[in-house]
Point group: C2
Chain length 705, copies 2
């Protein structure tokens, strides 16, 4: 049963009777006769649908949001099935998200596709056979939305159909420090003191699972944080926000209100027999709230109010794929198997079966298949709607926040996600490693995250697992400087990677970089807000702006907002890198806000260049007739003077920048149009203008050809 | 107790009383007073020695043989402890080898160091702190050899002290096809037929563990290879060599001659109680021959004669770190632990302890520590001499070969290795993955393997684990084309990656590349032999020949022999790459031997370039006044006419090449100086000369500025 619809430039093809993911907010499609010019073919076999998309040999494929590999997704296989993947290696195909939107970018015409489906989808984009694009949908009930135009037009059209992107409070653009784990008040205070002592900016400190009482959501460990509320007040007085974690699983423990209420009201996912499904995660045995049920979402969302009333202004939702270390059933079956084999002279095949069974205990498809949601009296296998779980948990949080205070922005990031979630929160890209390869992955992933609406996004800077080297820390910071979410996060047992943990010059470089970040916050925030309001991207591949063939092949440079191009250094021992310039640009070899001088600027012709960059040098390219406004860095976002600028620019005719400004903390910009657009201009003779009286230009570095 | 010696330009510092690794063949050192200008400091703490080496901020560190990361080893940590490492990820620190030789390359003076020690060594080369080079030797008895000079001088001096590198028969330069597993005669024959059917060259097919009877060394499965000897004869008549695998562990099975003899003669390593140590590997329970005992080596080496007498001319020694899936003791302890926990409500910490215990069963330090060698009545912990095991197994094989036929070259590659082994065999780089990152690792590892004498080396082309994409297969082949060992090997359960398994054009590209390989064999063999005889390197970093600063930073280009520079494409979807030329060079954009035409050549100035390379184009740079002689490709090495050349050259004044030629199968080149050096020249006007009558130049492409 295929139905065909269209509305403006969006077309929709319906297969069967899809489960509503609520990711698309458009609803006025008109049914039409099916048009035969669609660029995909569909065949259904049993419970699976195969889609084949036409692809020319030089086409590029962009999208799939949070996933492995390059900007151009061609040449590999990908899976959309939210996974707690601890090792983001090149052989993996799925991460924490399911973002089924992609663009086939052709010379003549580009096409965007969104497959609106809550279950597993596999993509083979010229992997098995270079010229074939094969998609396997594990289901027969789903919608495909089709978009036409340039890549930018397609993205904007798609983004309009999924809603406006989440906007954090402006202090969310400050530097954020995290670790698994700052486990008690003393440690958190020491960390805050470290930033003050070394005079390094910081706006937030994260609380990982140890702030809770035995990892129970919405509780506070009396041992670790005996005076949580007053401690938080003390931190707020220092302009430091504490960001506690909330996990998906609810600990099974009689007398624990969340467990008791969930049980009483049948709010948990169930097993085959209708009993609450038992999995083990950090708290030990847990039940999973059935977030697909609106009553459950309301109940769980309001649970956040307890911490909010204690002054908490931000959260991170974790383990919401949902991650399952093991299920009660899986562990039971393992022990039965082990019992059968313990007295045999275990042969090599039994041994590998054992290691394999142990490895497969976590996040097992069989467990997801034997867990159920109960929606309007109907039982639905979790496996079939798996990719919605984290999305609907985070929706619960966001909707809960707004019940308490509809006009206050909250900081919210989450791990698992699906298309549609971007209107509720930002994301971090999960448990990466301190690998150069993961800095590159971070660079390559930013545009595809933006494509599906995740503008407030960033990676664990420095890497979560493994030990970071000083050099990697600096180079990573040089990139994360530009990501709206700038968070340094690392795992238990790894090297401490707060800025002052490194020696001499490296510590100084990191401090200078964080201070540079703060000097750019008005610009970054402005670019972010414009992207959210206009359904645009803040991080773009070169090919989204430049139509030459060479730009299509650039995998390690990005356009940031309207003014900048980045060419991050992401290789060990590098003292420079190759850069492609699609047009003439001005290079600023940035080191520290205090050190800006004429010698740091150089105009480069379009074309290919090798550009030197010592460890302390950050390469920032300013595009022609564009500006980069900076402000004096301070140690907190709210201490910045956002009205007095140092202006950097490259002027052919006249450089222009429109700076978006609002209160940074409420939704008045949306509900009451309360925001300003401040116009800044620079002429070829270096003269600068600003069109609002209370704004000023303190100094300028305007270059011309 | 530190003693200091010197001999010619080599100095030696002795700590304590080292176990003899027999890696250094020099022996006429003279004891001298300790000189204070050594560039390292040593401190001993309990059973560990810390060495600190001075390093300037711009120094590069080369070496460590088979290990992870780049050509310049700076910025990371490495461990020398032979490990059956299934995943060569960026977070790993050790592979299958222990190659404790490295060069600190400074502007003023470079220093080479070889730490002659059989146990574990850890290197921190500016990882924890950018400027520090810290080495931890897990012992107090070892030698340090110190070499001074340019990097090339240091390598030659070191290589002279470890002996002349292994030389395979010339057919070992042919294309070799492998898979785990071509498990029976029919399948092997089908593979051979495939090469004939698609007209693709091939000289050898590998037999993985299934050719054996229940994985017992030196046996043949009667079910899979019922007529092994006549089958091998049939294959030899087609000029296809079969290369069987030999594993380190000997299956425990009464009536199996190797087991019975080993047991009777106490040839196996023992446990604490003096009983043969029991580990499990492919055959199930095994004992490990005590290869450190010369009697055991002689006994085991002669076991190869059985297969040699059936016509076998090559072997691969595997699992000789030695790999241990589990020990009897380790498994017993796991089951005791499991029994204690099976009826408890396993909490999350016990769960992770369980998964961790299972993961740690394989290749456990505790097992290596409870296994013993018995040398001249003295019991030595295996852990302390672990890194010699594979080396001494392979030495046993090589010495065994020579007992049967002293003048016949055998093909021999091995997985685990140590410095000193290079005089006995070549190596493959172990179980890599079908990852672009591992193609890059392959490129970066070739020079460091050459530095420790492994000239006959190569990676599993296309990748062992995971599925290869057609594009990766082609790009990898474009590099492996130049490695003396060119073997396509893949694992059970992965995509079939024989050349004809790919579609249309890709299949044709691969065929063209293998044919190009055969056309280059006289050149590659010549460069290989000259490197072996003169203790030189066949693959060099640019900085070993060019002294400019930029050359020091090139991590993805290599000099191959005297004439060529390679700039392999190693990125998905790339249609070109950046290249640095330290001097003017001639680019040959090679596609197929038949297609060589003037249009494929282009002279590039020194400097930085972006160079296009479609999938079918292989970038080969010819250096000034150098030549590349090609011959017409055939489907077997022994069918090549090695005396009629197509000559490619780039001439400033006069291009010269000295071609080494010998019989390719005996040691007469060494024992009786039976080899020729054929001098080929080309003038700027394109005129070519060859100084031997029976050689001829059929065609030439000589370019000049």
């Amino acid at each position: 049963m295929i139905k065909y619809f269209s509305e403006n430039q969006v077309e929709k093809v319906r297969f069967g009777r899809p489960f509503p993911t609520e990711s698309i907010i458009l609803n006025d499609f008109h049914e039409k006769a099916f048009e035969t010019d669609h660029l995909f073919k569909a065949t259904t076999f049993e419970a699976t649908t195969h889609l084949t998309i036409a692809m020319d040999i030089e086409d590029c494929v962009y999208g799939l949001g949070e996933n492995l590999r390059g900007i151009n997704k061609r040449g590999y296989q990908y899976v959309s099935f939210c996974t707690d993947e601890p090792k983001h290696m090149p052989g993996k195909t799925a991460l924490y998200a399911a973002h089924n939107f992609f663009i086939v970018h052709s010379r003549d015409q580009s096409m965007g596709y969104y497959i609106d489906f809550a279950g597993k989808i596999t993509y083979d984009i010229g992997f098995t056979n270079q010229e074939n694009f094969e998609i396997t949908v594990e289901g027969i009930d789903f919608d495909v939305y089709i978009y036409r135009g340039t890549p930018n037009e397609i993205v904007t059209s798609f983004r309009k159909s999924i809603g406006q992107s989440y906007v954090p409070p402006i202090w969310g653009f400050g530097y954020q420090q995290s670790r698994w784990s700052y486990e008690n008040m003393e440690i958190v205070e020491n960390i805050a003191d470290g930033f003050d002592q070394y005079d390094i900016p910081c706006d937030a400190i994260y609380l990982d699972i140890d702030y809770m009482e035995r990892f129970k959501d919405f509780t506070i460990s009396q041992r670790n944080f005996p005076e949580f509320e007053s401690f938080n007040e003390k931190m707020l007085a220092r302009d430091i926000k504490l960001i506690p974690i909330i996990d998906a699983g609810v600990k099974i423990e009689q007398g624990y209100d969340v467990y008791d209420e969930g049980l009483k009201n049948s709010y948990f996912c169930t097993d085959e027999s209708g009993e609450p499904f038992v999995a083990a995660v950090w708290p030990g045995k847990v039940h999973f709230p059935d977030f697909l049920n609106p009553d459950v979402r309301k109940w769980f969302g309001e649970k956040y109010h307890g911490l909010m009333k204690k002054g908490i202004q931000g959260f991170w939702n974790d383990m919401n794929e949902p991650a399952v270390f093991y299920s009660e059933k899986g562990l039971r079956e393992l022990f039965i198997w082990l019992k059968e084999h313990e007295n045999t002279n275990m042969d090599i095949y039994s041994f590998f079966e054992m290691t394999d069974r142990v490895a497969r205990l976590s996040n097992a498809d069989e467990d997801y298949k034997s867990m159920y949601h109960n929606i309007e009296g109907k039982r639905i296998s979790h496996y079939d709607v798996h990719n919605l779980y984290g999305y609907f948990m985070t929706r619960a949080a966001d909707e809960g926040f707004k019940i308490l205070n509809a006009n206050q922005r909250m900081l919210l990031i989450t791990r698992a996600s699906h298309v549609g979630m971007a209107k509720h929160s930002g994301i971090w890209t999960g448990d990466n490693h301190s690998w150069w390869e993961h800095l590159k992955l971070n660079i390559q992933m930013m545009p595809s995250l933006n494509m599906v609406g995740f503008l407030y996004a960033g990676a664990d800077t420095g890497g979560f697992q493994d030990n970071v080297s000083p050099e990697l820390m600096v180079r990573w910071m040089q990139f994360s400087l530009f990501t709206p979410l700038l968070r340094n996060h690392s795992a238990m047992g790894t090297r401490n990677q707060e800025p002052w943990r490194f020696e001499g010059k490296v510590k100084e470089h990191i401090r200078n970089l964080i201070r540079l970040r703060y000097s750019m916050i008005p610009f970054l925030y402005s670019e972010f807000m414009k992207a959210s309001i206009t359904y645009g991207m803040m991080f773009k591949p070169l090919s989204f702006e430049y139509e030459d063939e060479a730009s299509k092949r650039v995998e390690d440079q990005l356009l940031v907002g309207d003014s900048l191009m980045l060419a991050p250094v992401y290789e060990q021992n590098a003292v420079g890198r190759f850069v492609y310039l699609p047009e003439e640009m001005l290079l600023w070899r940035a080191t520290a806000y205090e050190d800006i001088s004429e010698e740091q600027f150089q105009i480069y012709d379009s074309g290919y260049h090798y550009i030197k960059a010592t460890l302390e040098e950050l390469l920032i390219f300013i595009r022609p007739d564009k500006l980069l406004p900076l402000v004096a860095p301070k140690n907190r976002v709210n201490r910045l003077n956002r009205k007095s600028f140092v202006l950097l620019g490259f002027t052919h005719e006249v450089s222009e920048y429109e700076l978006y400004v609002d209160d940074g903390i409420t939704f008045d910009y949306k509900n009451h149009n309360k925001y300003e657009l401040v116009k800044i201009e620079a002429e070829t003779d270096g003269k600068c203008r600003i069109d609002q009286e209370d704004y000023s230009i303190q100094k300028s570095f305007i270059f011309r050809r």
